[in-house]
Each structure stands twice: as C-alpha cells, then as structure tokens.
C-alpha cells in the first residue's frame, strides 16, 4: 500500500496543516508518495517543512518516500534555484524531470534552503545573509539601517534553537515576497524547521509538572514563547526568543511556532491567524516562521 500525501497548490504556513494531515500516524507505516505535481507556489515554510517530512521519515527508518516534482516548469525552476531539489534528492526518490539549479539564485531569496546541522552552520548562515540583507531590508522594505543586524540576530537565534534543542538537524530559508491576501505588502520571511523532539519533549522534564494536566504541545509553546523558559537551568537561557519578540514588536512583525499538534503565534494587527491552534494534525519537530513586513510610508 502506498499512501499519497498531497502538497497543497499554495503551500505555506496556512495550508501546512492540510499537508501534515496527509501523513496520518507518525511515523507512517505505509510507503509514501508525496505528490507536488499540482504545486503552484511554496513559501520557505512549505519547502523547509517538506524536507523535514523526508528527514523525519528517514530518521524513523521508514521506507524512502517518493516525491513527484511540480508539473509547472516555472515552479520547478524556482524550487531548483533555491536549492530545494539538492537536498530533497537525499531524502526522497524524485519522480519527474528536475531542472539544474542555476548558479545565481532569484533576487528575492535572501537565503537558499540551507541545512542547519551544527553551530558552524549558524555562522555560515549569518555570513551569507549579511551579503544581501541590507539592500532588501533597508532598501526594499524600508526598515531602519540597524535592521540588518537585528534581522541577523533573529536568524541566528532561530537556527541555534535547532542545534541546542531539537536533537537533530534542520533547515532554514529566507525569502522576500508579497503577502497579497493578508497584507498587500512585501514581507521578509524566515522559515526554520527541524525534525527533532519538539518543544513539549524538550521542556517536559523541567516544566511539565508546573502545568499539570494542561501540559501538552500548546502549553510547551506558551512556556517557551510567552514565558521565555528554557530546558536549561542556566537563568540566562531563553533570551533569544524574547529578543526576537522585541524586534517584531518594533517592526509589526509576526512569529509563529508549530510543534507537534499545536501552533502559537504572536501577531500584529494586520494578521487574522489564531493566537493558539491546538489539536492540529501531528507533525514532527518544530516549524518557526518569522514575518517582517515592509514598513508603511509614514513610519519610515
């Protein structure tokens, strides 16, 4: 038996739950065919999440899943240019013609899909982003001059969370695109996804007792994102997410973290997402999205 998991045509944080539901039980017992033929567009969140699914299956010693590539040449070329197929080929059996990745990526990509396996990778990611970030963040999105440093700090801390808490590796990608439906403005989006133990298991030994029966994926996200707790006893831990929230407050940005069966977001006024969504279809590890909108003319 082969189970078919459909990649949504418009694959982003909103449609991710539909994708996650396609897997049924984790780890899936059947062979999987991940069908991306109908994909018309994928955000960095979608692409890193797709790789995370392949990674989680590999780490659970599951049978290597099949991935049918998008039928649209334009979509395929884009996925190739951001480096998706390079890593997907290690995790999936690819079906369909995959174009060669061009040497220069699209101009709206701040960071190609990049694996985060060790602290050294965090250094590399920060080095790479600083080359192009100023032009886009200050020039295009109208953020203040110091924003490049603040953006890179947010990126660094998000990636470090994988190395320190996930217990396995993960993926990061950063892109600029237009939020037509939700905002009607350009946004810079950082997506970080790992196939690790998730927030609940990471914090369970140190914080579950305090929450009693409420303990679960949602409570764990609340503890980390709202209360700033960490699994480490060092009182200086948990500063990364707190600092990121401060920047997002200044930029009217959004952070959303999905882990296990819950998703928690700190939202600006322009977004109509649910602050806490619980009882979602399970998906391994943690998926973080940080969204920074172009600043409105009057605030520039």
């Amino acid at each position: 038996m082969t189970r078919i998991v459909e990649v949504p045509a418009h694959f982003d944080d909103r449609s991710f739950d539909q994708f996650a539901a396609g897997f049924g039980q984790w780890p899936p017992e059947e062979k999987l065919l991940v069908d991306a033929r109908g994909a018309q567009w994928a955000s960095p969140y979608g692409l890193t999440g797709l790789l995370t699914a392949g990674q989680a299956i590999a780490e659970a010693k599951g049978e290597r899943p099949l991935l049918t590539v998008p039928l649209s040449d334009e979509v395929k070329r884009y996925w190739a240019r951001v480096g998706f197929f390079q890593y997907a080929a290690e995790l999936f059996e690819l079906h369909g013609k995959v174009p060669k990745a061009s040497t220069t990526g699209p101009s709206d990509v701040l960071l190609d899909v990049t694996p985060v396996r060790a602290m050294e990778d965090v250094h590399q990611v920060v080095e790479k982003i600083s080359e192009t970030a100023s032009r886009i963040l200050h020039g295009e999105l109208g953020l203040e001059r110091g924003a490049v440093g603040r953006f890179s700090m947010a990126l660094s801390e998000s990636c470090q969370n994988i190395v320190e808490h996930a217990g396995t590796s993960g993926w990061v990608a950063v892109q600029v695109y237009t939020f037509r439906r939700r905002l009607g403005r350009r946004v810079a989006v950082i997506a970080v996804s790992d196939a690790g133990i998730g927030f609940r298991r990471s914090l369970e030994s140190t914080h579950a007792k305090r929450f009693g029966e409420r303990w679960g994926d949602g409570a764990a996200l609340e503890a980390a994102l709202i209360q700033g707790v960490s699994r480490f006893r060092d009182p200086g831990r948990g500063q990364g997410l707190a600092g990121i929230k401060g920047f997002l407050d200044r930029w009217k940005g959004k952070i959303s973290i999905r882990s296990g069966t819950a998703r928690l977001a700190i939202m600006p006024a322009w977004d109509d997402d649910l602050p806490l969504a619980d009882h979602l279809p399970f998906f391994p590890g943690a998926q973080v999205q940080i969204t920074i909108p172009a600043q409105e003319a009057e605030s520039r």
Binding site: M119, H123, S130, G149, E157, Q160, Q239
Partner: protein
C-alpha cells in the same frame, strides 16, 4: 590603569574562520574564556572591551560575554568593565540580556560619552549621567546639581557604586575611565 581588550582579535583567534560575527553560545563562551585569561594576567582596575571589529553580536553571545563577565565580578577580583565600539543593534542585544539579570554596564557612545546599558533604577540612571557630566561628585554635589535631597542622591550613588558603574574614592565618585 586601563586594560583594553580587542574583542575582534580574540574572536579571530578563537574561531576557525575569519568571522566578524559574534554568534552562537559556544563562540561567546570561548571568547569570554579568552577575556578572562587576559584579565587574570592584568593588574588593571578597569577593563575596556572594544567591539569595533565586531559586525554582529547576537543575544547568546551578549549573554555569554557581557552578562557572564559581570556575574563573575561578584566572585572574582572586582573590576570596572566598560564597553566601546558598539553598534545600535548590539546595544539592543546587551540591554536585553542585562535587563533579564538586573545588571548594567557602562558603554562609550561613538562621541565617547558614557551611557548605561541594562537595568538600574531611574534615579541611578540620572545620577550616572550627572557624575559623567561633573567628572567626579559626592552626594552633596549631585544633590545640588539635580535639586534633590542629599539622601536621595546618596542612595543612587551607592547603587551605582555597588554595581561598579562609578569609581569610589572616599566620599567622591568618579566617572569610569577617568585616571
């Protein structure tokens, strides 16, 4: 006597690649160890940490370097710590971690004027600025300058002294980096 420590040099000695970004906890911890080594060999009362060559300082490194150096002051030989060469976003990282610990540090702004980063009471922050303007002051001088009761000025000066943000000499308190 002032010991100037070039954090960028220590980063290049610590990291395998020529990075100018102080990111990740292990990197921050390694750089802090180098700073502690340098300070242990020095008799200077004031350490000036110069961040001029540093491009990026993330929260983890701000915690590992600045917060942990200040926390260690309580148990080790006390020194005055002053930061220099910081960028605007690096102020944010340091302020965030020091607020968390209720700590504060003096930093030199680009115009060389001292500023306080981190957590102190509102009175102590005002008095810090006053001592910096005057160069040296006792509680009476501060009270006169600010139009405060002397007890209030004295209390704020005591808090700054306790946190090693001004240098005491008898009844006088000196701004840091004044020989």
């Amino acid at each position: 006597m002032i010991e100037t420590i070039w954090v960028g040099h220590l980063l290049r000695e610590t990291a395998p690649s020529p990075y100018r970004n102080l990111v990740t906890r292990p990197t921050g911890a390694a750089v802090r160890t180098r700073i502690e080594d340098a300070l242990s060999r020095s008799d200077c009362l004031t350490a000036l940490l110069d961040f001029t060559d540093i491009e990026l300082l993330d929260f983890s490194c701000a915690e590992e370097i600045v917060a942990k150096l200040l926390l260690a002051q309580a148990s080790e030989r006390p020194r005055y710590l002053v930061l220099r060469g910081l960028r605007e976003d690096q102020y944010d990282a340091i302020t965030q971690v020091l607020n968390h610990h209720h700590l504060a540090v003096a930093a030199l702004a680009p115009d060389e004027e001292p500023v306080l980063l981190g957590w102190v009471s509102a009175d102590a922050r005002i008095v810090f600025g006053c001592v910096c303007r005057l160069g040296r002051a006792c509680a009476g001088d501060v009270a006169d300058a600010l139009g405060w009761p002397e007890a209030r000025a004295g209390e704020a000066l005591d808090a700054l002294t306790l946190n090693r943000l001004v240098r005491p000499d008898g009844d006088l308190r000196y701004r840091l980096l004044v020989a």
